[in-house]
Symmetry: C2
Subunit: 215 residues, 2 copies
């Protein structure tokens, strides 16, 4: 039995952030597939007993249920002394990019990809709105990574793991060909994938998938 149990669904980039962090830190976890597609996170029971914010993932850490991915990443970084930035200045930068990612990059990509790939008849107005914002985000990351190896300092941190997660799924889901459109982002994703023990999302978090509407 491992100390960690991760409640996830396979398409969740936030679940993948925690699964990847634990794996890169050499930690095992028990993956607990959750019926997101069936609406479990919208039930009164889930909101009252598991997570009032109604979100997945949930990480059980020796029996204590933790929610909200970024604070959990920071806690694991402190616990294992990995991916947290080298000094106070770098740690401020890590926080800065983590908040930006939650507000912008992961947020827009998660919503855009979910609507586009996993809902029937998404509203084209909403897709265009989100894609426009997402392109602005990706331009910012591409420019930032144009002359550096990782998001903060010269080693990967939880900011990289957070920002790369939703970009790590098959390109058919988002419709974004990073290699063609955002070369610095694409090169950085290759550096992340070369880290020891790295695993792709659906390899790390298997199980029944949401119905995809993308051909």
């Amino acid at each position: 039995m491992t100390a960690y149990r991760l409640h996830y669904f396979p398409e969740s980039g936030n679940s993948y952030k925690l699964a990847l962090m634990l794996t890169l830190c050499g930690q095992e976890f028990e993956p607990v597939w959750t019926d997101f597609g069936g609406g479990v996170t919208r039930t009164v029971e889930w909101r009252e007993k598991v997570n009032e914010m109604g979100e997945i993932p949930v990480l059980e850490d020796s029996g204590v249920r933790l929610t909200q991915t970024a604070p959990i990443l920071l806690r694991l970084a402190d616990r294992y002394g990995r991916f947290r930035g080298g000094d106070d200045g770098e740690r401020f930068e890590v926080l800065r990019w983590l908040f930006w990612d939650n507000h912008k990059l992961s947020s827009y990509m998660a919503t855009y990809r979910f609507l586009r790939a996993f809902t029937a008849s998404p509203d084209p107005h909403v897709l265009a709105f989100l894609r426009n914002r997402l392109d602005d985000c990706l331009r910012i990351v591409d420019r930032h990574l144009g002359d550096r190896l990782f998001v903060v300092g010269d080693r990967p941190t939880v900011a990289d793991l957070s920002m790369i997660a939703y970009l790590s799924f098959p390109k058919e889901e988002s419709g974004y060909d990073l290699a063609a459109a955002y070369p610095a982002v694409h090169a950085w994703s290759g550096r992340i994938a070369a880290l020891p023990n790295w695993r792709a999302p659906y390899g790390l978090l298997p199980g029944q998938r949401l119905r995809s509407y993308v051909q």
Copy 2:
């Protein structure tokens, strides 16, 4: 001369978060009005020299330019020993709500209100999409605050200041009548407004306003 200079525009809830935090901590700052409406944050110069993320506010702290509101709030909370939560458990909760706020509540409210009140002919599909998500957020906060005074623990923290900011502007801008629709949120906003030295957004950050399209 004060140690702090805050680059802001009056309608920016993120600018208000920092202005309110400094004021509640008894700190003065020099407000530097910024021509957001004129597009200054979209210029190459702003992105290269001030903030690559293209965002306002920017806080100059003894000459050092800091960006991204939430990490700055956390730094100020540590510096003044105020609004940071009482112990490690509370500080994890503060982080948790801060990230949720940046991802969801402040994000959706900022975008919804900006499109609705300060752009000509906003797309009604996009407004409906954002309003639906915002209502889900406000229900979560209303339920959370139904049986407690503040977001975390029994005293206000930077999580409260972050979450209240975009809800503190005149209701004509967002079209949300919190008193009628979200009574626990409304009661909580009254408790925040009763804190010593509290100031409303446009009182704290005056200056030329964006053109409003709301009558």
